[in-house]
Amino acid sequence: MNDDEFLDVLRAAADEFDPVPAGVLRDASAALALRSLDAELAELVEAEALVRGDEPVTLAFESEHVTLNLEITDGVVRGFVTGAEGEAVVETPRSRRAVPITDGWFTVAEVPPGLVRVRVTASDGTVVVTRWARG
């Protein structure tokens, strides 16, 4: 058996013992619906990287209309926004929670680990969404 044939045998073993889980394919398929074509994108301008999981992540986003600072610790997302009012919507690929913005601040608890983004409405009505960030 040459190397290519041997690798084919290994590929069959991988397909049998470590296939792509069905849930991973479902999530991938569903990802297309997470596009937000209507919204202005707030770019990540600063990220306080962390080394260990128990330190907070701090992220700064900016768009033409708003600035948004996020601190994420143990599933709690705390944000400060300028240029927007009303509600902040904290989204993960599987969930969304709307909370009021009070004097620029908002907090959402029990956010599942993984990707998170925040959607707000600028004072002139423009919908702004941050890029996805890892909480």
């Binding site: 058996m1 290994l10 069959a12 013992f17 991973v24 394919l25 990802a31 997470l34 999981g53 993984g114």
Partner: protein
């Protein structure tokens, strides 16, 4: 598969075109996550994040014909970020020496039926660098070396020789394994 056309259709919101991309490349992305020894949950996370990043960049992929490379690079970044987050970085790349003897041949008879399970266990015993490379090469459908190079951040020209040495190592392990060596 016409990848640039599927990508353009997906960017217009065509779910069927998107699903075709998902079917084509999920095997590669899963293999990359497993190559970095991510757990079930972390591997699922890394793959999903890679797809979501693509959704975010659907209109901005500069070279659609190189989508597989873009996905491989993105998946590597996601995996390394998860490993860093866990305080765990991949083992440094050790040198892979040739097997002392010419690689023993193995034949199909050794690798049928339940022996596939034994082969899988033997594979998991490989040194990390070999296991990592072979796990990506084992993706379905088989990836091009260019994508493997991006997924593992190694020179494309080194893949062939290292592949050969690592398969030699694995053959030696197969030859030394009782279950696999026993003739039926």
């Amino acid at each position: 598969m016409d990848i640039p056309a599927s990508l353009a259709a997906a960017a217009r919101g065509d779910q069927a075109a998107w699903d075709a991309l998902v079917r084509q490349f999920s095997g590669l992305l899963w293999s990359i996550a497993r190559a970095y020894r991510l757990s079930d949950a972390d591997a699922a996370d890394a793959v999903q994040c890679t797809w979501i990043k693509l959704v975010e960049h659907l209109d901005g992929i500069a070279e659609p014909e190189r989508l597989a490379g873009w996905l491989s690079t993105t998946a590597r970044h996601e995996c390394l970020q998860l490993l860093r987050r866990a305080g765990r970085l991949p083992e440094p790349a050790e040198e892979i020496a040739d097997s002392p003897d010419p690689a023993p041949d193995v034949d199909h008879a050794m690798l049928v039926g339940e022996r596939n399970a034994a082969l899988w266990r033997v594979f998991e015993e490989l040194p990390d660098r070999c296991r990592r490379l072979l796990r990506v090469l084992m993706a379905s459908p088989p990836p091009a070396y260019a994508e493997v190079a991006l997924a593992l951040d190694m020179p494309v020209g080194s893949i062939g020789p290292i592949r050969q040495r690592c398969l030699g190592r694995l053959k030696a392990l197969v030859r030394g394994n009782e279950v696999l060596e026993e003739r039926s």
